[in-house]
């Protein structure tokens, strides 16, 4: 479904991604783990078109996304839930959700159906419907950002550190939602520092170090890998 071929991405002179290749098949949850500054957000931004690679291609259903503008890419069925949430603070919860379905002109019945679906996934959003989004707690804002991405009726959802700053209980429920979304047939690409959660909830995963993919495999394989245990999972798994 999504195939990234040897992309190189720079910020000015600074090369952040080096010959990164990966693929996401239809119906999969694919994770990418890496430390701070490894280049995870940069990959998400390159897929969604905010950054353009200096070489390499990003193919989505066979079409090269690097030639398209950001709004067009969203229209193809790729929705993103960016790092730090980036909700619209002054709009209400409801208006934020509707903004997510911007590219779905017409399709009123479908939008209403998805709006109700999102509200059933995140009941708190229904309760806060008329509140400006800025008044939501951090966890609620994360749910809103996910709900908003779902309103685009995506084929592929990009999640950038959905667990950042959330209490363990909430992290778990966020990943439960990922599972539910995936069961609806939406492919998910999630980048995380929280390696344990991400590996546990993904079909396959990649490990990114200083802009290079150093390891890949199924979630379970990587969880058992001794290097991963040392570097990413820390003492928690060793003991």
């Amino acid at each position: 479904m999504l195939k990234i071929n040897k992309i190189n991405v720079f910020y000015g002179n600074l090369q952040v991604l080096r010959d990164v290749s990966l693929n996401i098949n239809k119906g999969e949850v694919v994770a990418m783990i890496g430390a701070n500054g490894a280049g995870k957000t940069t990959i998400i931004k390159t897929i969604s078109g905010i950054l353009k690679p200096s070489s390499g291609e990003v193919l989505f259903e066979g079409e090269d996304l690097t030639k398209l503008k950001i709004p067009k890419i969203t229209g193809k069925g790729i929705a993103q839930c960016p790092e730090g949430r980036r909700i619209f603070p002054q709009l209400t919860v409801e208006e934020n959700l509707l903004m997510g379905s911007y590219t779905r002109n017409g399709d009123k019945a479908g939008k209403t159906k998805d709006y109700e679906w999102v509200n059933s996934l995140f009941p708190i959003l229904a309760e806060r419907r008329k509140q400006p989004a800025v008044t939501l707690s951090g966890g609620e804002q994360q749910m809103l950002a996910m709900g908003r991405a779902l309103m685009a009726k995506p084929k592929l959802m990009l999640l950038d550190e959905p667990s950042m700053g959330l209490a363990p209980m909430l992290v778990k429920s966020i990943y439960d939602i990922v599972k539910t979304i995936n069961a609806e047939g939406i492919s998910v690409f999630v980048v995380e520092q929280n390696a344990f959660m991400a590996l546990n909830h993904s079909d396959r995963a990649y490990v990114l170090e200083s802009g290079k993919i150093v390891l890949s495999g199924t979630g379970k394989e990587l969880l058992d890998n001794s290097e991963i245990k040392n570097f990413y999972l820390g003492k928690k798994v060793e003991s």
């Binding site: 905010i50 950001i70 969203t74 980036r86 909700i87 603070p89 709009l91 903004m99």
Partner: protein, 326 residues
């Protein structure tokens, strides 16, 4: 129901207002307020709702005024066709100028609009056979519609009242529609808005063109009311005045342009008495008002309404930065 009654009262007040004030001078002030409401709406759309700080709106006001002046004096077209031509010119100018400049962020856009304002003034001054140079164009006929001549301040008041009302309705519908929410999304987080699939550059240019169309329409009215246009009526200082209307009235608030226009026009008039000190006092007053009303008059009204109707909402207002005092 309650709302309908207050609207009816407002309508009656607005209709009898010019009859209460007999002096031509006061009626002139009322008319200035109405023109400034149009300009305030124009600035609120692009600054309040899109967040692009414009310091060149007087250029579009001038383009509208000169278009109407030239067409009415040289081609002899009547009032409504003149307004239409001014609107088209304002709209075109908005597109032509918006496409390159709206890519600029924050202060760079503001500076570009200052440059634009100066260029337009130089054109008014130097394209003599069309604009009359420094002397300007005089002899612009009074507005007239279907044989009805608007040749007194009081008649002009009613013409303006109806026109401002129509423009206000369009503006209100625009900002409370889904498109209005899209504008706020673009203003508050452009990157996230484009990730939603919104073509943010297009939204900005379209809103600028609507805003400059309204400024140009105000210009056409101005030309037909004063019967005279000259380059010194459209300097950058005038653009700053339009901006002050919105900052004082409340940027990004529906009624901001109305509150702001009333305060700014009245302040300007009273301060005339202080002669050379007038700009000084004006500046100090504006500073004090802004210190005490960081979200403008409309912000205060919102807070008062929240206190009266819905206590919980006060907390929301604080979160979105609408506060009584800083």
């Amino acid at each position: 129901m309650k709302k309908n009654i207050s609207l009816a009262i407002l309508a009656i007040v607005l209709l009898v207002l010019p009859l209460l004030f007999q002096s031509r001078y006061t009626q002139h002030i009322l008319n200035m307020i109405l023109i400034y409401v149009m300009l305030g709406i124009s600035v609120n759309l692009i600054f309040g709702y899109i967040g692009a700080l414009t310091l060149g709106q007087a250029a579009f006001f001038g383009i509208g005024a000169y278009t109407a002046a030239i067409i009415s004096t040289k081609l002899g077209l009547s009032f409504l066709p003149c307004v239409l031509c001014s609107a088209v010119m304002g709209c075109l100018a908005g597109f032509i100028i918006g496409i390159p400049t709206l890519r600029l962020k924050g202060p760079y856009f503001a500076i570009a609009t200052i440059g634009l304002n100066n260029i337009i003034c130089i054109i008014f001054l130097n394209w003599e056979h069309l604009t009359g140079g420094a002397v300007g164009i005089s002899g612009i006929p009074y507005a007239s519609i279907l044989g009805l001549q608007f040749d007194t301040e009081r008649k002009v008041y009613f013409l303006l009242l109806v026109s401002v009302f129509l423009i206000f309705l369009l503006y209100r519908n625009m900002i409370s529609s889904h498109y209005g929410k899209v504008m706020i999304a673009v203003r508050d987080n452009e990157l996230a808005a484009s990730a939603m699939g919104i073509d943010t550059a297009k939204v900005k240019v379209i809103v600028l063109a609507i805003s400059t169309t309204i400024a140009a329409i105000a210009g056409a009215y101005y030309a037909h009311i004063t019967n005279y246009v000259a380059p010194d009526a459209f300097p950058v200082m005038e653009s700053i005045t339009f901006l002050i209307i919105i900052v004082l009235g409340g940027a990004g608030f529906k009624y901001g342009p109305i509150y702001g226009a009333v305060v700014v026009v009245i302040l300007n008039e009273y301060l005339q008495y202080f002669e050379q000190f007038n700009m000084l006092i004006y500046g100090v007053l504006i500073m004090i008002l802004l210190l005490f009303l960081p979200s403008g008059i409309a912000g205060i009204v919102e807070i008062a309404k929240a206190k009266y109707y819905e206590k919980k909402k006060i907390y929301y207002l604080k979160e979105v930065g609408i506060d009584e005092m800083k």
